[in-house]
Amino acid sequence: SSLFVFDHKLTLKTCGTTTTLFCLEQLFRVVREELGWQISDHGKANPYKVFYSRRCFMFPKKQQSIHQNWEDETKYLDQLFCNGKSYLVGRLGQTNHWSLYVTETNKEMAGTSSVEKSDCEGRDEDDDETMEMLMTGLRPSKSRQFVTAREPGQPIASDGEDEGHTLGRHVTGVTGLDLVYDNARDVSFQQDAFAFTPCGYSANVVMDEEFYYTLHVTPEDGWSYASFESNVPVKHVSNGSQDNFSVMQRVLSVFEPSDFCLTFFSRDSMNDNFLKLQKISSNISGYTRKDKIIYDLDDYQLLYLRFERTV
């Protein structure tokens, strides 16, 4: 699981039987009391924008409380937020559909700053894109890379470094997960990876101080799963030499899943990567496309693609 905190937004991604939404009321209290932010409207929170999403669970009955089903989650969210909408993306009745809750944009929180919006490389700082890949049925030979032999309870080294982090960093290198992006501009690169015991892997990678990609892997046979989520602007860090199709292929080569869905959010409908990903043909090497859905969500565009492995 991971949490990314920026000055103005946060991203919380949690797996297992976590109770993600139960931090919201306390979070709003902290924001109100410690930061003085007025985010309420008629007793409900009304921040600039909220997204909550998940692929359908493999074992929903083992989830806790409202997280056992999507309807209860959205009901809870509706109690807390103004103007939320719920979407089921993918095919009903399939075990791999994806659900999304999104609030209407509160434009009052967009500010009136007249500060130049483009940075020195001409990148629009207000542009925003997020790509997520959710993969199941990992190739067993690939899954094995995320199984470790260490035992819990090992002594801690005097320098504070522990085996889980050391092995995590090792796994990042061995699998090539540090090479997902071509860093043509030589931007800063920091990783925080952890190899769980007996198996499992999580990593946060931060590039250029403000962009992240995060990976979470549960490699157990029968319900193996891996996720990749990124807000790294590929064109920016690669100096235009790479696109998200290439990123997708590199991630696929690490896991070789039997099934995966890709979601891509973009604030700008003319976003280069959005347009390119839309054009992915129905067959990419080793995979057949099963679904392609485009949503126009207020001021965001969402592309959803699902593929199954053919070989």
Partner: protein, 87 residues
């Protein structure tokens, strides 16, 4: 390509939790993903001295307890704080 050069150490690491965490009973990979934009951009925050990143680390720990997550480690960069969590 990226060179794996760890120039920045962890800002926080819970070595005891890291050493003792056992994922044997873990299951269910698919994550819940929550993203809250309080403002459109960092420039829109009214007081740059009071932002989400001003919130005390221990407050985040308490918020994450409600989620049933613990902080394994954290790295601070110029524009964001990245927490790696248990589960």
């Amino acid at each position: 390509t990226v060179a794996l050069n760890e120039q920045t150490p962890h800002s926080y690491i819970d070595s005891e939790l890291s050493a003792n965490l056992d994922s044997t009973d873990a299951f269910e990979g698919p994550e819940k993903l929550l993203e809250i934009w309080f403002f459109k951009s960092a420039r829109c925050v009214p007081d740059q001295n009071r932002t989400l990143r001003s919130i005390d680390f221990n407050t985040w720990v308490q918020l994450l307890e409600l989620v049933k997550c613990q902080v394994l480690s954290m790295k601070k960069t110029e524009k964001m704080d990245a927490f790696l969590l248990s589960e």
